[in-house]
Amino acid sequence: MNKRQKGLLAFLLRKPEASISLVGIILLIVFQFASPVFFTGPNLQTVSQFFAPWALIACGEIMLLICGEVDLSVGQVFALTPFIMYFVAGAGVPLFLAMILALLVAGLLGLCIGFITVHFGVPSFITTLGAMLLINGLTLTISGGFPVDTPNNLLGNIFGGWAYSEIAWAVGVAVVMHTILRHTRWGLQTIAAGGNPTGAAEAGIRIKHIKIGNFILCSTIGGLAGILNAFHVTSIDPNAGGANVMFLAIASSVIGGTSLMGGSGTILGGLVGAAVLGILQDGFTLLGINAYTFDIITGAAILITMISNVQFAAWRRRSRI
């Protein structure tokens, strides 16, 4: 494909997935040397369960970031959706149907957010900031602020019984989203909508349509992540997810090579980015490093990645690699 490879460095700079994977591998080696329990079954389970929620959410968030939008409210949809499933199931509806219904509600929330953003011209940062508070209030109101037990049956085992259920779902969703982004018209037009909105519109691409679709997608994936998490931890907590999981999802996307300016991004990079943040957090815990330090590291990692993204892009243009 590319005949003009100028060695490993050029390759790493051109492929953000490659550079973040390299960082991940280095971290794995460092933590393995620093702590003998790192590469053990129980710890790998912990790591994977740990980052699976924000890896899932990153898949939806990346599509939105690419088309030039962002969803800050997805962490609240993560908390609300399992409650809807709980109450619908409590009313006597079979659990599977309750789950589908809850996911439809999550999608509907995405539709509303997308509609307001696109048709009223409100920046999605503001729309979803409002939605974030609104949905959180909704969750607290319907739950009364107390956690409940997740309804359980065979379905629960399929969705959250196995120790690696969540990460398996995350990888599965990532593969599907990667295929959508790289191999369908939807993906291509999502990139066009974020890369050059005027140009894409002139070419006849329905930008509003694309954006609303991606809001629905992101919200639904957020709801799915919330349900999987509820099955996994066997309780539904009104304070689960929230801004924390949303910020980690966006951080994973950005570290993985998705531009906050829109127009470019990679799902697989986001998956690796999520894993790197998980490995970091787990490794620091094993080493006994203060939890507060983790936020410093995450913050610095995002800043460094953003600076290098901008700088490398300029450098790439100059040297044409």
Partner: protein, 254 residues
């Protein structure tokens, strides 16, 4: 010559935006394979005229004819269905997509019966289409943002030609371009003319370049046509003389 042989004809087009009369009745015609250059200062009405021809604005009065048939464009897409394609100054290219994805933007080729993009086919056809009109790019996979202004302009023109446009409207294709880049685009335009299957209207600022490449030129000043003629029968000096005379006219009024 009968009217039906004109690829595009505009009769006495006027356009008013509220209190502002942007065009005071402009007529033009274009034979198949012919090229018209429109010259004039900023704000003279060139772009308004172009937007009327491309279906973006509707004229206040006057009529448009495509192949001798009267048409009323309702949208850019409607005009496009008559084979009229405008290559905008801001280039409808997406910098973060590859050359071949840009060539097939919103005309993507899918595998038969499947919702998946046929990358290989698009890459092949894009390479063919570009080679066909002699445009050189380093690779079909390179992001368009990595290319020079001239290459990007060439790709935008190639895309319009590949989408079966019969009338190309070029909005300042030579603006903000170095001499080498500009001569590359001029060479491309001449190759298109030599093929003879597309007619072109080009808006430009550079009198010498336009006289060089266009079959006929039109000078638009303050919404009216102040000169119209074959490129071979006029000169930069004559055109500048007309512009100066008009300018003096304005200063006398004031």
């Amino acid at each position: 010559m009968s009217e039906a042989t004109y690829a595009l004809e505009a009769r006495d087009i006027t356009k008013r935006f509220g209190q502002v009369q942007a065009l005071h009745g402009i007529s033009l015609n274009l034979k198949p394979g012919e090229m018209l250059g429109i010259l004039g200062d900023n704000g003279a009405g060139k772009s308004t005229l172009m937007k009327i021809l491309s279906g973006f604005h509707a004229p206040t009065t006057g009529e448009l004819l495509v192949k001798g048939k009267k048409v009323e464009f309702t949208s850019v897409d409607h005009a496009r269905s008559f084979g009229i394609e405008c290559v905008y100054q801001d280039l409808a290219l997406v910098n973060t997509l590859s050359v071949y994805h840009n060539m097939f933007l919103n005309r993507e080729i899918l595998y038969q019966g499947l919702p998946f993009l046929n990358h290989r086919k698009m890459r092949e056809l894009a390479a063919e289409a570009l080679a066909d009109i002699g445009v050189n790019v380093p690779s079909m996979d390179i992001e368009v943002g990595m290319l020079s202004g001239g290459q990007r302009q060439a790709i935008a023109i190639a895309r319009a030609v590949a989408s079966h446009a019969r009338i190309l409207l070029l909005d300042e294709p030579l603006a903000a371009m170095g001499a080498r880049e500009a001569s590359m685009i001029i060479a491309l335009i001449e190759r298109l003319k030599a093929r003879g299957d597309v007619s072109m209207i080009m808006i430009a600022h550079n009198y010498a370049q336009t006289l060089d490449v266009a079959d006929k030129v039109m000078l638009v000043q303050r919404g009216t046509c102040t000169f119209e003629g074959r490129s071979a029968e006029t000169s930069v000096t004559e055109l500048l003389e007309i512009v100066k005379r008009e300018y003096r006219g304005i200063t006398h009024e004031v």
